[in-house]
């Protein structure tokens, strides 16, 4: 009944105290090993000295109290066994020195036998009780420490959202707890065990092989047989083993059962966090898949409608030309031919947009950025848009000293084409379109503005969604892709693109690009008389 509920203490120092906190010894102030017995006997000697002093004033029976005090102190300070040794020694010394006949172990008065018996029992009981209390206290402290460690780890892991972060946080925390390096190895998607975090640089091929074994056969795991070797702990995540925790020996000694118990708990917690990450990633993937599916059906419906409309027009016009050509008046033939060309152009634009979108979404091939004057690019784009602009006034406001900008000219040209094309499509014929560029701090601000109906309130951000057709846009032909592509392309350049309404009416798209560092300076032009005559 007095025996505390705990696994049999290992011989020698308690593992928890050694492994978990090197200061444990000094904190509890306990003397250990033979030293405890020596001190306990020293205490008996001190009691004897005190008893000699008190002998003159007290009956010998009262002196037993001093010895009892010594036994109690031994029990408190050194534990149960030293206390029992102290009790036996006390009885012997008391008998020898104070019980008549003195300086013999003989006992005249049999009453003293009772005294001895009671003294022994009291010593054992008190020693056991105090030792039990002390052990309970230590156990509670260990539990508290363990709870604190687990709590700290779970707090660390809670902040992690990726497998790598979990591995790093776990390695850091467990290293701190263990006071020795640890390494976290995780199973990769390809079914290999790869070092992920912690002291991965000290993993030898042998250790990696051991970890592999541990990963394949987690049931066979056990602490290392001899001190000085690393121990392997499986990191269980749900039903599978997500990885292996490699614990390097702390101070050259093997971790004891208490340590292993805590480490197992930490590994378990790491496994749970990994499982949580995996589930989160899976949910995200499922969400993305659903999103892709939604996009795909939107794409299909948009494409089937938008591709078929121009095709229908082309087929209709071409079949009329074929069937009735001699009968058709010249003007009608021209109108049909015109509509074929127009619709084919529209079809080409649509396909181009779809391709651009796909390219941008499937991780653009690296941008081919080059330093260039914006004017050069605008000129090319406006030249291509001559037909779409149909003689409408276009005002281009560029400061003379606008610096060169670093752009992928094709992709950015597509952006400007989309913005100016939109302005032309969604504003009344004949109204002015304004293109304006300026330097704003370390950014280039470029805007395309029209005098159309502008954006409906609440649509300012939605116009950049794929296949979104605004209230106004729904009336004009288009794919709902132009602005989405433009924003993606501008963002690929590190810039931003937003839609606004002009105060005096009309839509404005504002594009901002980081200007970056100036291009290398131009070589000065040779003076007139240095240059060779430019003939071939």
């Amino acid at each position: 009944m007095l025996e505390p509920h705990r696994p049999a203490a290992p011989p020698g120092p308690t593992v928890a105290a050694r492994g978990l906190d090197p200061r444990a010894d000094s904190v509890s102030g306990r003397a250990r090993g033979p030293r405890a017995y020596v001190l306990a006997l020293g205490l008996v000697a001190a009691c004897t000295g005190l008893a000699f002093v008190m002998e003159r004033h007290f009956a010998p029976a009262n002196l037993t109290m001093i010895y009892l005090l010594g036994v109690v102190i031994s029990a408190t300070a050194f534990g149960r066994r030293p206390a029992i040794v102290a009790a036996i020694a006390s009885v012997a010394v008391f008998d020898f020195l104070f019980v008549p006949p003195r300086f013999t172990f003989e006992v005249d008065d049999t009453q003293y036998l009772v005294t001895f018996g009671v003294m022994l029992v009291v010593a054992v009981v008190i020693g056991t009780l105090t030792a039990w209390l002390r052990e309970q206290r230590e156990l509670a402290a260990r539990r508290e420490k363990r709870t604190a460690v687990l709590y700290q780890l779970s707090r660390d892991l809670g902040a992690c959202s990726t497998v790598r972060e979990v591995a790093t946080a776990a390695a850091e925390r467990i290293t701190a707890v263990q006071g020795a390096p640890v390494a976290v190895l995780l199973a990769s998607a390809t079914g290999e065990l790869r070092p992920e975090a912690g002291a991965v640089e000290v993993l030898t091929p042998e250790l990696l092989a051991m970890a592999q074994n541990a990963w394949h056969q987690p049931a066979r795991l056990s602490p290392p047989d001899q001190p000085g070797t690393a121990s392997m702990l499986p990191i269980e995540a749900g039903v599978s083993v997500a990885g292996v925790l490699v614990l390097f020996p702390a101070g050259g000694t093997a971790p004891g059962p208490e340590d292993m118990h805590l480490m197992r708990a930490l590994a378990h917690q790491t496994g749970l966090a990994l499982e949580r990450c995996r589930l989160t990633a899976e949910a995200e993937r499922a969400r993305l898949e659903a999103e892709t599916e939604r996009m795909r059906s939107a794409l299909l419906s948009s494409v089937s409608h938008d591709l078929r409309t121009p095709l229908a027009a082309i087929t209709g016009a071409a079949s009329q030309l074929r069937a009735e050509q001699p009968a058709l008046p010249e003007a009608a033939r021209e109108a049909l031919a015109e509509s074929i060309v127009e619709e084919a152009t529209r079809l080409d634009r649509l396909i181009g947009n779809l391709l651009d979108m796909t390219r941008l979404e499937s991780g653009m091939p690296r941008l081919q950025k080059e330093w260039q004057p914006l004017e050069d690019l605008l000129g090319a784009v406006l030249g291509h848009l001559d037909d779409a602009l149909a003689g409408r006034p276009v005002r281009v406001v560029l400061p003379e000293d606008l610096p060169l900008v670093s752009l992928d000219s094709l992709l950015f040209g597509q952006v400007v084409t989309n913005l100016v094309g939109n302005a032309a499509r969604y504003s009344p014929a004949g109204t002015e379109i304004e293109l304006r560029a300026a330097v704003e701090g370390d950014q280039l601000r470029f805007e395309v503005a029209d005098r159309g109906p502008g954006f409906a309130p609440g649509e300012l951000d939605r116009v950049f969604e794929k296949f979104f057709r605004g209230r106004e846009a729904a009336r004009a032909p288009g794919t709902g892709l132009g602005l989405a592509i433009s924003r993606a392309a501008v963002e690929a350049h590190g810039g931003t693109l937003v839609a606004e309404n002009r105060s005096a009416g009309g839509a404005r798209l504002v594009l901002k690009l980081p200007l970056g560092t100036a291009p290398p300076p131009m070589a000065p032009e040779p003076r007139e008389h240095d240059s060779p005559a430019p003939t071939s």
Binding site: A380, G383, G413, L435, E525, P526, P534
Partner: protein, 234 residues
């Protein structure tokens, strides 16, 4: 197709039937003699047999890379080659031009556009053939008087720096044809300027301000995005 010696001969190397068909109709109507090949090998054989005046070469052939067909031609012939490419293959266009193609058109293209390119190519062929160069390059609105180092636009004389003069001369000499950045840099700045395309772009902007009525809406010095520059021919 009756082979008429007086008609310019166009070799079309293109595997798409639909495109072949409308090219034949359009070229025929314009008075060209047309040879057709659907593969690169066939094209090279036909070129050796009939010596065309212009070659239209599709870059996406079934049997071999269009660029290798092009360099096959260039080993023994200086016949003008116009490359037919798809949108988004600017890199291929530049490579084809640098490998000796004279021009390109991007599919889908209009027949008048293609015919204009063919005319430019044929004219340069006759120019190149007689070896000597005119003292005056007349490109419609722009006239370059090489001997007197004078450049006029619509009879208005321009004051140009030496590099601007060299740039506009190079463009005028190849008027109507697209010139790649690499080519222009080499011709105007020499080999030291390789890869410094922004030199060219800055000078082009300067030149436009002198040549064009509205430099943001150029009508003479045209930019081919991602490829190079072209001076509009008369």
């Amino acid at each position: 197709m009756t082979a008429d010696a007086s008609r310019p001969r166009v070799l079309v190397i293109e595997d798409e039937r639909a495109i072949q068909r409308f090219l034949r109709v359009g070229l025929d109507a314009e008075g060209y003699a047309v040879d057709e090949a659907a593969t690169g090998r066939e094209g090279l054989t036909l070129a050796a047999m009939h010596v065309p005046d212009v070659v239209l070469l599709d870059l996406g052939l079934p049997d071999r890379d269009g660029l290798s067909v092009l360099s096959g031609f260039r080993e023994w012939s200086s016949v003008p080659v116009i490359v037919l490419t798809a949108r988004g293959q600017e890199h291929d266009k530049v490579r084809a031009l640098d490998a000796g193609a004279d021009d390109y058109v991007t599919k889908p293209f209009s027949m008048p556009e293609l015919l204009a390119r063919i005319r430019v190519a044929l004219r340069h062929r006759t120019l190149g053939a007689d070896g000597a160069e005119d003292a005056v390059l007349d490109c419609g609105r722009v006239r370059v008087d090489l001997a007197r180092r004078r450049v006029t636009v619509d009879e208005r004389e321009l004051s140009l720096t030496p590099l601007e003069f060299r740039l506009i001369t190079t463009l005028a000499r190849h008027a109507g044809r697209v010139l790649t950045h690499e080519f222009l840099l080499r011709e105007v700045w020499g080999n030291a300027a390789r890869g410094q395309a922004h030199y060219l772009r800055v000078y082009m902007s300067q030149l436009r301000r002198k040549v064009e009525a509205d430099p943001t809406r150029p009508r003479i010095l045209l930019t081919e995005l991602g490829v190079g520059y072209r001076m509009k021919d008369s």
